[in-house]
């Protein structure tokens, strides 16, 4: 019974993005793990301070990641607006919140679909993705594109929403909600699915706090942390935001927390669509950014942190991005120790890792 080293990644059927783990296994049990994360490094931070001017940054940072392009663009827009002392009106805030929440919905649906796939439920994966298509349609209709939304711009949003689109969105969200409830019930009641996910990769609340985990992974362990409640960049509380937590801390709970958040986000989106304040979708912008600031936003995967520094020039001095997946890797490594190799895929995918964010 010797030691066997099993490589997992950088290309692997279970992985949507390249990350590589080297597992030392003894009799199926993982005893040591090594992680490499830099496969998709594109030098975006450097490009942001050399090739691109401050007003092009939202388009650049949107390309950090395909799933949370809205988050990254929103974060940099928020930071630059702080540096330029721009006050946006309520309508812009609401429209931004709308796309942020829609983004969260589609990202969470994708993550849950992937988890279903790696535990052997190809069918559930398809159902989840089919339901997800509705929210993609809504985003496409609102912003004009499917993945690269380019919606937030400095001083506003790219386009206003008309009545027809709002009706379309409401109809689709209603359908989505039904589908989510269906899939959720299956998560709740299926015995085999439970065997594969319940009690697998458990993070206790203490562990989550000690390793500083972020996002749904922390909330699935009962740790109450959410930037939407801690940092006031958009008025989430006004539209019915509620912190979602679960206690179990396993793969199953992480999926369920994400579904809870999807339901909460749907509710928020409906509230926003019903109560859109009047106003312009763009405000006047003057001057150049100056000074330094930090921005924290809640990406679908947890806290996303931006540090921006500018000195009144067209090109910024520093753009630093720290993404949630990076914060969650230490605990991920800890979780593997003592776990079965066959569970490794479910554990990784339940973290919803976003490597292109992490490597930037």
């Amino acid at each position: 019974m010797g030691k066997i080293v099993v490589p997992f990644g950088s290309q692997h059927v279970a992985l949507p993005e390249p990350i590589s783990f080297l597992f030392d296994t003894e009799n199926e049990i993982i005893t040591k793990v090594e992680a490499h994360i830099g496969y998709v490094h594109r030098g975006i931070e450097k490009a942001a301070i050399t090739r691109f001017e401050y007003n092009q940054l939202p388009y650049l940072t949107a390309r950090v990641c395909g799933l949370c392009s809205i988050t990254h663009a929103g974060a940099v827009v928020h930071g630059i607006e702080k540096l330029m002392d721009i006050e946006v009106n309520k309508r812009i805030d609401y429209l931004r919140m709308l796309v942020v929440e829609l983004d969260r919905i589609h990202s969470h649906m994708l993550a849950n679909g992937h988890v279903a796939e790696v535990v052997g439920y190809e069918n559930l994966f398809m159902q989840t993705f089919r339901a997800r298509e509705d929210v993609m349609d809504v985003l496409e209709r609102i912003t004009g594109n499917r993945v690269q939304y380019d919606y937030q711009t400095i001083g506003g949003v790219a386009r206003d929403i008309d009545l027809e689109t709002a009706e379309f969105a409401k109809k689709k969200l209603k359908k989505l909600k039904e589908n989510v409830l269906k899939v959720m019930e299956f998560h709740d009641s299926d015995y085999t699915f439970g065997l594969k996910t319940k009690g697998v990769g458990v993070i206790s609340k203490e562990m989550a706090a000690k390793y500083n985990t972020a996002g749904p992974i922390a909330r699935a362990s009962g740790l109450e942390t959410d930037v939407r409640a801690e940092f006031d960049y958009l008025p989430f509380e006004e539209v019915g935001y509620k912190m979602q937590t679960r206690k179990e801390g396993d793969v199953w709970a992480r999926n369920m927390v994400r579904f809870d958040e999807v339901l909460n986000s749907i509710e928020m989106c409906e509230n926003i669509l019903d109560n859109l304040p009047q106003g312009e979708h763009q405000v006047k912008v003057k001057g150049r950014p100056k000074g330094e600031t930090v921005v924290r936003v809640e990406a679908p995967r947890g806290e996303c942190f931006y540090y921006l520094k500018a000195s009144g020039k067209k090109v910024m001095d520093r753009v630093r991005i720290r993404v949630p997946t990076y914060a969650n890797i230490p605990i991920l490594k800890e979780l593997f120790l003592g776990a079965k190799y066959s569970d490794a895929q479910a554990i990784v995918l339940s973290f919803d890792p976003c490597m292109s964010c992490t490597a930037r």
Binding site: F52, E53, N55, Q56, Y59, L60, N123, L124, Q127, R130, E133, D137, E140, R141, I142, T143, G144, N145, Q148, D150, T153, A158, R159, T165, K182, E185, F186, S189, D190, Y191
Partner: protein
């Protein structure tokens, strides 16, 4: 378990969710961000669209230093369709720069043509040349701009000299 089974049976007989693209057309949804169309007659050559464009898909080349005439070059295969140029354009409301709701066809055996696409793509016939020719445009863009600047400066100096002479 039973519920999932019933669901699966339902799916067997329900309508498909997917489109059989490319055998069937896949229409653009309403409000799609498509190709950028340009109208030279309305343009005031302020260069705002060129300056905002994140990937640099719009480049003006000065073709005549005497009159300062510029040519609009647009590379639809570099464009990210963000629409920033249209938002910047002061004449966008009149239709100088508009984003239409149809996609640019993928670069296959032919290149799309049309006056509204600007000079660049209309001068190319071989799709393989798009990249190399665009690099030339980028170089020309920098070169002609610098030369035009120098030309204007020289012109101003000439004028000032003539004026000084006249005053003597």
């Amino acid at each position: 378990m039973l519920k999932m089974f019933i669901e699966s049976l339902k799916n067997l007989v329900s309508e498909p969710e997917t489109i059989k693209y490319p055998f069937e057309p896949s229409p653009e949804p309403k409000g799609y961000r498509g190709t950028i169309h340009y109208n030279e007659e309305l343009c005031i050559f302020c260069d705002k669209c060129e300056n905002i464009c994140p990937p640099g898909a719009i480049k003006f080349v000065v073709v005549d230093y005497e009159t300062g005439k510029k040519e609009y070059n647009y590379n639809p295969y570099l464009c990210i369709y963000c629409g920033a140029c249209v938002r910047e354009c002061p004449k966008a409301d009149e239709g100088c720069l508009v984003q239409v709701e149809t996609r640019t066809p993928p670069l296959g055996r032919s290149v799309p043509k049309g006056k509204e696409l600007g000079y660049f793509i209309n001068r190319i016939d071989n799709p393989k040349e798009v990249e190399s020719k665009w690099r030339e445009i980028e170089e020309l863009n920098i070169k002609t701009k610098e030369e035009y600047k120098a030309y204007k400066k020289a012109k101003r100096a000439q004028k000032a000299a003539a004026k000084a002479k006249g005053e003597e």
